[in-house]
C-alpha cells in the first residue's frame, strides 16, 4: 500500500522535474522570473536578467504545485503529506542532477550554446540562484520543503472546514442575488439582457477614441480575427468542412485591396471601398475554385488539401513568377488610405470600421444559421449521407458555405491590408490559418460569444502580455492541450435554439386568429 503511494508520487515528481528541466533549457524560467519581478514592482530592462530571489519565488510556487498535485483525493492526512514530500524530493533529485551538470559546465566554462541556444552562463547562474555550487543542495531542500508544504496546503484547503466556508459564501451570494432580482422592477428583468448589450455597445463606441492607438491596433486585430473566425466557422462549424487554408482567402482580400490602391506595382488607385468589395469577390472566387475539386473529400484528406492550398497561395505570392504582379517577397507598400466623405482614416476610424464590420458579420451569421440554409449545413456536418437522403444537395451547400465563408475572410483581409498600409507574403502564413482554427476550437464552435472570447484569449492577450511573445507557441500548445482535456466543447459552447416554443406560439396565433385581431384593434 505504502509502496504504491510512494511509487505514484515518485512518478509525478519525476514528470514535474523533467518538465522544469525542459523549461530551463528554453530559458522559460528567466521569463517567469522577469514577470514575477515586474509584478512585484522591480522593472527588468529588456535583455537584462532578473534577480535570483524572483527565481526562488518561481521555484517555491512550482514546488507547491508539485506537492498539491501529488496529493490524492482520499486517504489519511499522514499519507497525503508523505505523497507531497516524496514528489517534492523526486523533483528535487532531478533538479540536483541537472544542477550538477550545469555547475560542471559553469566550472569548465564549456559553451553549449551551439546546441542549446538558450543555455547561456547567466541563465545557468540564475538557475543556480547565483550561489554556484551551493545552489544545487539549495534546490533539493527547496523542492522537498515546498513539496511538503504543497501537500499540507492541499490537505488544508480541501478539508471540510474550508469547503464549508466556500459553500457558505456561495449560498450567500445566491441568496443576495435572488433578493436583488426580486426587488427589481419587471421591465429590467424583461429587457435586462438588452440593457447590458446597450451598455456594452456604448463602451465599445466610446473606447477607440480614448485608449490610444496601441490598444486600437491590438483590439482591431482581435476584431479582424473575429470576422475571420466567423468565416471559418461557416465552413467548419456549420457545414463541417475541415478547412486549414483560410489564410489564402485572407490573402486574396488583402492583396486585392493592396494592388488596387498602391502606386507600385500597378498604380491603379481605385479607392478603398470598391476594392474591398472586389477583394471579397476575389476571395469568393478563390473559395469556389478551391471547392470544386475538394467536394468529394472528407476529414483528414480535406484538411491536407486545404492546407496545401494555403501554402500554394503564399508561395505563389513569394515567387519570382509573380514578382512583377504582386511585388514578390517585398509585398505591396504605401497602400492608399480610405476616405470617408473626404476625411482620411486614422486608427480610430479603423477601429470603428472594424467594429461595424464585426457587428454586420455577427448579424449576418445569426441570420444564416437560423435558416433553411444553415440547417442544411448543420445536417451535412452531422451526417452527410442522411442529409443527402433528406433531399439536400450536398455539393451545392458545401460550395455555398465555402463561398460565404470566403467572403468574410476577404473582408477581414481587405481591412487588414489597408490598416497596415502594407501587406506581404509573411502576413499570410500557415500560422494565420492555425490561429483562426484555434480561435474557433478554443472559443467554441458555432458560438459567437465563444469566438469573441477565443479571439481575445488567443490574439488579444498575447499582444498585451508582450513577455510571452517568445513562448507564444509553447503557451498556445499548452492551452490547446488543456482545452481539449478540460473543455473539449470550447470556452463558451454553443446551444441550440428553442424552436418548439416559437412554433407552438405561432400555432396558437393561427388557431385563434380572431382573438389576435381583436386584441390588435384594442391596442390601436
Amino acid at each position: 500500500m505504502n509502496k504504491d503511494i510512494i511509487r505514484t508520487s515518485r512518478r509525478k515528481g519525476l514528470i514535474f522535474g523533467i518538465v522544469l528541466v525542459f523549461l530551463v533549457l528554453i530559458n522559460f524560467h528567466i521569463m517567469i522570473a522577469t514577470m514575477i519581478s515586474k509584478l512585484l514592482g522591480t522593472n527588468v530592462l529588456r535583455g537584462a536578467f532578473p534577480e535570483a530571489r524572483f527565481m526562488i519565488i518561481f521555484l517555491v510556487l512550482y514546488g507547491l504545485w508539485v506537492g498539491w498535485s501529488a496529493v490524492s483525493r482520499e486517504g489519511q492526512t499522514k499519507t497525503k503529506l508523505l505523497e507531497g514530500l516524496v514528489a517534492g524530493m523526486t523533483t528535487g533529485f532531478v533538479l540536483v542532477l541537472f544542477g550538477l551538470i550545469l555547475f560542471y559546465l559553469l566550472e569548465t566554462r564549456t559553451d553549449v550554446r551551439r546546441y542549446l541556444t538558450a543555455l547561456s552562463f547567466s541563465s545557468i547562474n540564475i538557475f543556480l540562484l547565483d550561489l554556484e555550487g551551493v545552489g544545487v543542495p539549495v534546490h533539493f531542500a527547496l523542492s522537498t520543503l515546498t513539496g511538503l508544504f504543497g501537500g499540507a496546503l492541499a490537505v488544508g484547503l480541501r478539508s471540510g472546514a474550508v469547503k464549508g466556508f466556500w459553500n457558505n459564501i456561495k449560498s450567500f451570494i445566491i441568496n443576495q442575488r435572488q433578493r436583488i432580482t426580486e426587488k427589481l422592477p419587471e421591465f429590467v428583468l424583461k429587457y435586462g439582457k438588452y440593457l447590458i448589450y446597450l451598455v456594452l455597445l456604448v463602451v465599445l463606441l466610446m473606447m477607440p477614441s480614448r485608449w490610444g492607438s496601441y490598444n486600437n491596433f491590438v483590439f482591431g486585430m482581435v476584431g479582424l480575427y473575429v470576422i475571420l473566425a466567423i468565416g471559418l466557422n461557416i465552413m467548419l462549424g456549420l457545414s463541417g468542412q475541415f478547412m486549414i487554408g483560410i489564410a489564402a482567402l485572407f490573402a486574396m482580400g488583402a492583396y486585392s485591396v493592396a494592388l488596387l490602391n498602391s502606386p507600385i506595382p500597378h498604380g491603379v488607385m481605385l479607392g478603398f471601398w470598391p476594392s474591398l468589395v472586389i477583394g471579397m469577390l476575389v476571395a469568393v472566387l478563390g473559395g469556389l475554385l478551391l471547392g470544386l475539386p475538394i467536394m468529394r473529400l472528407r476529414g483528414d484528406y480535406l484538411a491536407i488539401v486545404t492546407l496545401a492550398f494555403g501554402e500554394i497561395i503564399r508561395i505563389l505570392l513569394n515567387s519570382d513568377l509573380l514578382t512583377d504582379f504582386t511585388g514578390g517577397p517585398r509585398g505591396v507598400q504605401n497602400i492608399q488610405q480610405p476616405r470617408f466623405f473626404g476625411t482620411p482614416f486614422n486608427d480610430v476610424s479603423y477601429a470603428y470600421l472594424i467594429i461595424i464590420a464585426m457587428a454586420v458579420s455577427i448579424f449576418l451569421y445569426y441570420r444564416l444559421e437560423n435558416s433553411r440554409t444553415g440547417r442544411a449545413w448543420l445536417a451535412i456536418k452531422e451526417d452527410t449521407l442522411v442529409a443527402r437522403a433528406t433531399g439536400i444537395n450536398v455539393s451545392k451547400y458545401k460550395l455555398l458555405a465555402l463561398c460565404i465563408g470566403a467572403a468574410f475572410a476577404g473582408l477581414a483581409g481587405g481591412i487588414f491590408a489597408a490598416r497596415n498600409q502594407f501587406t506581404g507574403p509573411n502576413d499570410h502564413t500557415l500560422m494565420v490559418s492555425i490561429n483562426v482554427l484555434s480561435v474557433v476550437i478554443v472559443g467554441g464552435m458555432n458560438s459567437i460569444p465563444g469566438i469573441i472570447l477565443g479571439s481575445f484569449a488567443l490574439r488579444g492577450l498575447p499582444e498585451l502580455l508582450r513577455e510571452l511573445e517568445t513562448y507564444r507557441l509553447l503557451v498556445f500548445g499548452a492551452l490547446l492541450v488543456f482545452m481539449m482535456l478540460a473543455r473539449p466543447e470550447g470556452l463558451w459552447p454553443s446551444s441550440r435554439p428553442d424552436l418548439e416554443q416559437k412554433g407552438t406560439l405561432g400555432l396558437k396565433e393561427d388557431l385563434y386568429p380572431e382573438e389576435e385581431e381583436e386584441e390588435g384593434r384594442e391596442n390601436v
Binding site: R372, L378, A389
Partner: protein, 272 residues
C-alpha cells in the same frame, strides 16, 4: 401512370465477388404495406439502399411511377417523394428534435441564402409555416413537448419516432422503413405497428418495410417478398409465405420444412 408505385426489374448489386442482391423483381401496389423479410445477410438493406439511391445497381431498372430512377442522385430521389429510415437510428444527434424535422422539410421549402440574409417577406412566411408544420409533425408522431430536446437525449423509442417524423416531413409517397421495431419491447412494437397502419390509412403513404418480427410482418403486410442470399425465393400474401417450404428452409435450414410440418400437425392435434 403505372398502378405500381415502385417496381424493381432484375436488380443486381454485388460487392466484389459477393452478389448481395441478385436479379430481384419486386412490384409494390400503391397504398399497400409491403414487407421484405429474410435471414441476416439476405441483402434486404442493400436492396433498400438501391431503392433510395445510396447504391447504383449494376443491372436492372428501378421504376418509380414507371420512370427509371436507378443511378439518380440520392437527393433527387428524395425530392421525388421517397423517404426512408435507417436500421440503426441515424438522427442529426447534436441538433434538437425540432431542427431534425425542419431539416426534413428541406424539400418543401424554397428560400435560399439571400432570403435568409435579407429576411425577405418570403423568408418570414416560410419560417412561420415551417415551424408550425414541424410542431404539427412532432405532435403527429407523439413527440409534443420533446421538440427542444437534443436528439441524442431522447429515449430510444422516441428517437425512432423522430426519425419517422423527419421522413414524413418530406411529404413522401413511398416510405421505406428499415426494421422500425428493432430493439423495442412488446408495448412499443404494438404502438409502432398501429402507427404504421395509421400512416397508410390517414396519409395514404405506401410503406415498404424490412422487419424481423414475424408478428408485425404477418399482422400488417398486404404482401411479402422473401430474400435469401440475395435472391428472391418467395412472394405472396402472409398466409402463402407462412406455408411456403422454401421460406421455412431458408430460416430453419434443410429439413426444416418437415420439422415445421410436424409441429403444425402436433398443434392441430392439440387444438382438436
Amino acid at each position: 401512370m403505372s398502378e405500381f408505385i415502385i417496381e424493381a426489374v432484375k436488380v443486381s448489386k454485388s460487392f466484389g465477388g459477393l452478389k448481395a442482391v441478385n436479379e430481384v423483381d419486386l412490384q409494390i401496389p400503391q397504398g399497400s404495406i409491403y414487407s421484405i423479410i429474410g435471414p441476416n445477410g439476405a441483402g434486404k438493406t442493400t436492396f433498400f439502399n438501391c431503392l433510395s439511391g445510396f447504391y447504383t445497381p449494376e443491372t436492372g431498372d428501378i421504376l418509380y411511377y414507371g420512370t427509371p430512377i436507378q443511378g439518380m442522385p440520392t437527393d433527387f430521389i428524395a425530392e421525388q417523394g421517397i423517404s426512408r429510415t435507417y436500421q440503426n437510428v441515424r438522427l442529426f444527434s447534436e441538433l434538437t428534435a425540432m431542427e431534425n424535422v425542419l431539416i426534413g422539410l428541406h424539400n418543401k421549402q424554397n428560400t435560399n441564402w439571400l432570403d435568409a440574409l435579407l429576411h425577405s417577406p418570403r423568408f418570414g412566411r416560410e419560417d412561420k409555416w415551417s415551424l408550425r408544420e414541424a410542431v404539427r409533425l412532432l405532435e403527429f408522431v407523439g413527440l409534443q413537448g420533446y421538440g427542444d430536446f437534443l436528439a441524442f437525449n431522447l429515449p430510444y423509442g422516441l428517437q425512432r419516432r423522430l426519425e419517422i417524423a423527419r421522413a414524413l416531413a418530406n411529404n413522401p409517397r413511398l416510405l421505406l422503413l428499415d426494421e422500425p421495431t428493432a430493439g423495442m419491447n412488446i408495448q412499443e412494437t404494438t404502438d409502432i405497428t398501429q402507427f404504421i397502419k395509421k400512416l397508410r390509412d390517414e396519409l395514404e403513404i405506401t410503406i415498404l418495410l424490412i422487419e424481423h418480427d414475424m408478428k408485425v410482418v404477418m399482422g400488417i403486410s398486404d404482401g411479402i417478398t422473401v430474400l435469401d442470399y440475395g435472391t428472391k425465393i418467395a412472394e405472396g400474401s402472409p398466409e402463402e409465405i407462412q406455408s411456403n417450404s422454401r421460406v421455412i428452409e431458408a430460416y430453419l435450414g434443410p429439413g426444416g420444412a418437415a420439422l415445421a410440418e410436424k409441429y403444425q400437425n402436433q398443434r392441430r392435434k392439440n387444438n382438436a
